[in-house]
Amino acid sequence: MKCIQILLVAFLVVSFSPALGENGELKPVILVYTGIDPGFAEMLGDVIEADEAIDSEVQVVETPDILSVAAALPQTECIIVYASNQAEMEGLEDPLIAFFEQGGGLIGMRDICYEPYAADLAIEVFPIHANDSVQQLSPRETRARTYVLEEDSEITSGLPEQFPLLSMGTYFSADSEGNYLEIRDVEYEVAYVDQETGSPLVLAYENEHGGRSVALPGIWTIPNARVDIYYGNLLQDDNFVKLFSNMVLWAAKGSSRFPGIQPDLQEKIEEAKGRADRLKEEAEEARRRENTRQLIFLVAIWAGGLLVCGVIIKKMILVPIEVEA
């Protein structure tokens, strides 16, 4: 176990290609995190890497801690999270909200759309406002959600109007009787709705800062290859692969954060390195001016003083001596 961890970290550390290219250009990074089982993240990462339209570097991470610090890095373009419980999202709320507010791209699946677990992430970033769920626990029947087209967009491009995707259930906002309750105070786009509940299964949202998010509350799989809703089976479905690629393209390449940071990053790095020196130089300049002013003032005082001394010496010392002589 220990060896595996050391190897994994070594792989994580060594496999990163240099973030800055030869001409100082920064390569965007898409991070994928799927909770305790990184297998799903690796498969999602493979889908992204196979898409020629996405030129970003893909990194699979195993802890939410890394996602939280990645949110502050300039090369982070998009963060993809699949969470199957609350603990897998620990510490993510503030960093991901700040990342989205800054114009970052995010894709959230399953529990990150559920308000009791994800808190403000399920409101401000993935505005599903989910407080309820439907689940198909029995594996005797096919466990899937049926995606029904609601609104054509880049995300639905090349996809049928209706298709099923393997899933154990979905989250949605519900009234007191458990019926879907539409959230009306946020301007989002619903690409697909759930045939059974009418709730959004693919919800795209762009905030005023150019941050783009896609919420998928109905991607609900299990890390066990022997069950029907194993994530590996979902990845075999061309509709899911197409849908996922479309979403990454829309959220990562259409969000504003990376294009906003990238162009003058090299200058910013140099400026950051030289910030203390620049402040010191400015302060030195101000200090030189102040010292010169003080020196002039002192010279004037001395000149005045010596002049007065001269007058006193002449009038009070030399003149009486001359008179006596």
Binding site: F16, D65, I261, A276, L279, A283, A286, E290, C309
Partner: protein, 287 residues
Amino acid sequence: MVQIDKRIVGLALVSVILSTLIMLTIAGERVEEPVEILKNEYPKILTGRKSTFSFAMVSRKRFENVELMFSMMTTKSLKVKDMIDSRKEYNATDSPDEVLENIVKFSWLKNQTSLLEIEPEKFEREITFQGIGGRMVIYDYTSILASLSGEDIAVEVPLTYCAIIDENGNDYYFEGKSDFFYKPELNMISLTTSHNDNESSYLPEDQAWGDVKLPMSTAPKGILEYHSVEKDDTFSVIYTVEMTNTPSGFGGPVKEGEMDLAMVQMIRAYLDGELFDEPILNLIRPR
């Protein structure tokens, strides 16, 4: 009436004038401490009860730019996945850097930032707490990443890391971010910052009113920046906390010979971009 010789009066006057000039010259060249810390009070033990932190400073010179940075680092319960080698043990001669390098997140961040050819600020200090000596190291990525990605995000992310190895070989790990306290929106019940007579007060959202008492959500996140600071300008920060939300591992069991340390507060003053003295470190117990 006694007649005083004019020459004596003249000599006396000349002496007075010259000595005044000399005194003025010496006084003008006197080197002072650039700032003076007037107050740094903090609770040595944090419980659920109200506790107040207060900090005050006066400038003894003019500055174009003064920046006060408050960071709060707390203990964190590490899971196996958080460490590169979860069984790693240390002895008293090991470097506290080794503790940080064994943290997956820290190693990842260090690697990512080194690819960008940027470095964090690093501080090292010998400490004694509860009679136990130790060596401490702190790495802070806040300023450098704020310059590149923006301050708004840099203050929301834990970018300050601290490790200690004590004289008994025990290791300690803390992490935090730039702020006056851990989760201020939940734990802080008042905050007042001032620069001379210019005062800003912040209260929890439900108690804030008008322009006089501002909501805590609008309070600065531990970074206070002032421009064109004059000699004898005063700065103060006073805040009260009532800890209802604690970090994981806060107040956990400690073995004999271990420090019962829950929080490390770091206060820095940058005077025209240059760190004044060493960072102030306030060490806080959980009980």
